[in-house]
C-alpha cells in the first residue's frame, strides 16, 4: 500500500519544497520507490530545487487532462535511485486540478510507488486542498514565527475537517510537525519561539527541527536536495527526520547553542 504524505504549511516561504525534496530523496535513498508531486500549478518550483528544470517535457496537468501518460511525465532523478518527480504545470491555473483527476493519478502511482509526496502550494485555496485531500500523513512545515504558527494551526483544522479521511470518518491523517529555520542562539536570547513553545501551541508530534543554515540556500542554488549535503547540519537534521518518519527513534540534534569561547561572546562575536 502506497503511503501518501502531504508537505504543507499554509504560509509561503517556510520550506515546503525544500522539505519535499529532502524527505523524498531520503526515502528513496533507503530503497523506497518514491515520487514527489508538485501541486503548485502555475508556480512550479520543485523542478528547480531538484535540479531537473531542463528535463521537464510533460507535467501533472497534461497527465490529468489525458495529454500525456504518467510514464511520459515522470522525471527520473539522476542522483538518487528509486526517485521520480512529477512537475506542476507552469502555464495552466489551479482549476485544472479536479478531485477525480487527482484521485485517478494517485491511484495509478500507488500501483508502483511506496511513497507519494505531495508538495503543497502556499495558502488554503484549491491547490492546497487538493494536495492534502488524499493524504495518509501530513508534514506541517513551520517557522518559529507568529504568522507561520498561526497558519499551521489553520491548515491542521483543514486536515481535520476537509481531508478524505476526515470526511469519510476514517482514521485521522497522521500529523507531523517539522520546525525549520531554527536558530538556537536567538532562542537562547529570547528572540525566537522555542521548539517547546511551538509544540505546546500546535500540540502535534515533532518530526524534526531543521536549523537555519547557509547550506539550504547553497543547495537550492545548485539544484541539489540539501539532504545530500552530509556535512551540513540541515542535511543531517533532514536525515534524522526521515528516520523518524519511518518509525525509528532518533534523538533531536542542533537544538542548543554551539559552544563558543568566553572571549568571543564578550566581544559580541557572531555565534
Amino acid at each position: 500500500m502506497a503511503k501518501i504524505i502531504v508537505v504543507t504549511s499554509g504560509k509561503g516561504g517556510v520550506g515546503k519544497t525544500t522539505t519535499s525534496a529532502a524527505i523524498g530523496t531520503g526515502l528513496a535513498q533507503r530503497g523506497n520507490k518514491t515520487v514527489i508531486i508538485d501541486f503548485d500549478v502555475g508556480l512550479r518550483n520543485l523542478d528547480l530545487i531538484m535540479g531537473c528544470e531542463r528535463r521537464v517535457v510533460y507535467d501533472f496537468v497534461n497527465v490529468l487532462q489525458g495529454e500525456a501518460s504518467l510514464t511520459q511525465a515522470l522525471i527520473k532523478d539522476k542522483r538518487t535511485d528509486n526517485l521520480f518527480i512529477l512537475p506542476a504545470s507552469q502555464t495552466r491555473d489551479k482549476d485544472a486540478l479536479t478531485q477525480e483527476g487527482v484521485q485517478k493519478t494517485l491511484d495509478e502511482l500507488a500501483q508502483t510507488f511506496e511513497y507519494i509526496i505531495c508538495d503543497s502550494p502556499a495558502g488554503i485555496e484549491k491547490g492546497a486542498q487538493m494536495a492534502l485531500y488524499f493524504a495518509d500523513q501530513a508534514i506541517i512545515v513551520t517557522n518559529p514565527e507568529v504568522s507561520s504558527v498561526r497558519d499551521s494551526d489553520r491548515i491542521l483544522g483543514i486536515l481535520q475537517s476537509k481531508s478524505l479521511r476526515a470526511e469519510t470518518g476514517g482514521e485521522p491523517v497522521q500529523e507531523h510537525l517539522l520546525l525549520t529555520r531554527y536558530n538556537p542562539t536567538r532562542v537562547a536570547a529570547g528572540e525566537m519561539l522555542s521548539v517547546e513553545d511551538v509544540e505546546d501551541i500546535l500540540a502535534i508530534p515533532l518530526l524534526g527541527v531543521i536549523p537555519e543554515s547557509e547550506s539550504v540556500l547553497k543547495a537550492s542554488n545548485q539544484g541539489t536536495p540539501v539532504i545530500l549535503d552530509e556535512d551540513a547540519e540541515a542535511g543531517q537534521a533532514y536525515d534524522d527526520a526521515v528516520e523518524r518518519l519511518l518509525g525509528n527513534e532518533k534523538p533531536h540534534r542542533f537544538l542548543d547553542v554551539k559552544k563558543t569561547s568566553f572571549f568571543k561572546r564578550l566581544l559580541g562575536g557572531k555565534t
Binding site: 504558527v149 498561526r150 494551526d153 536570547a189 505546546d200 501551541i201 500546535l202 559580541g268
Partner: protein, 91 residues
C-alpha cells in the same frame, strides 16, 4: 551576544515570550470558532430577529456562544436588555 545583552537578559519579558502568549490566545480563539457548527451565525441572526420584534436592541447587545466540554455542549444566549423595558418595546 555582547557583554551588555548578556547581563540584561531577563526571563519573562523577552519578545519570544510575548509571541508565545499572543499565539496561545489567538490559536485557542480560532480553534473554538472552528468547532462551532455552520448554522450558528444563521441561528444567531434568527434569534435576534425574533427578539427585535418585541424589544429594541442592536446586534451588539446579544451574544451566542457554544461551549464544548467533555460530555455536554452548552449553548449560551446573552441578551443585554435596555434599562426601561416598557418604553423601548418595538412597535
Amino acid at each position: 551576544m555582547s557583554i551588555f545583552r548578556y547581563f540584561r537578559r531577563t526571563k519573562s519579558s523577552t519578545s519570544a515570550n510575548t509571541a508565545r502568549d499572543r499565539l496561545q490566545v489567538i490559536v485557542a480563539h480560532e480553534r473554538s470558532q472552528r468547532k462551532q457548527p455552520d448554522f450558528l451565525p444563521r441561528m444567531q441572526q434568527e434569534i435576534l430577529d425574533v427578539i427585535k420584534k418585541y424589544i429594541n436592541i442592536s446586534q451588539e447587545q446579544i451574544s451566542v456562544q457554544l461551549d464544548d466540554s467533555d460530555d455536554c455542549s452548552v449553548l449560551e444566549l446573552n441578551i443585554t436588555l435596555p434599562e426601561d423595558l416598557a418604553q423601548s418595546s418595538a412597535k
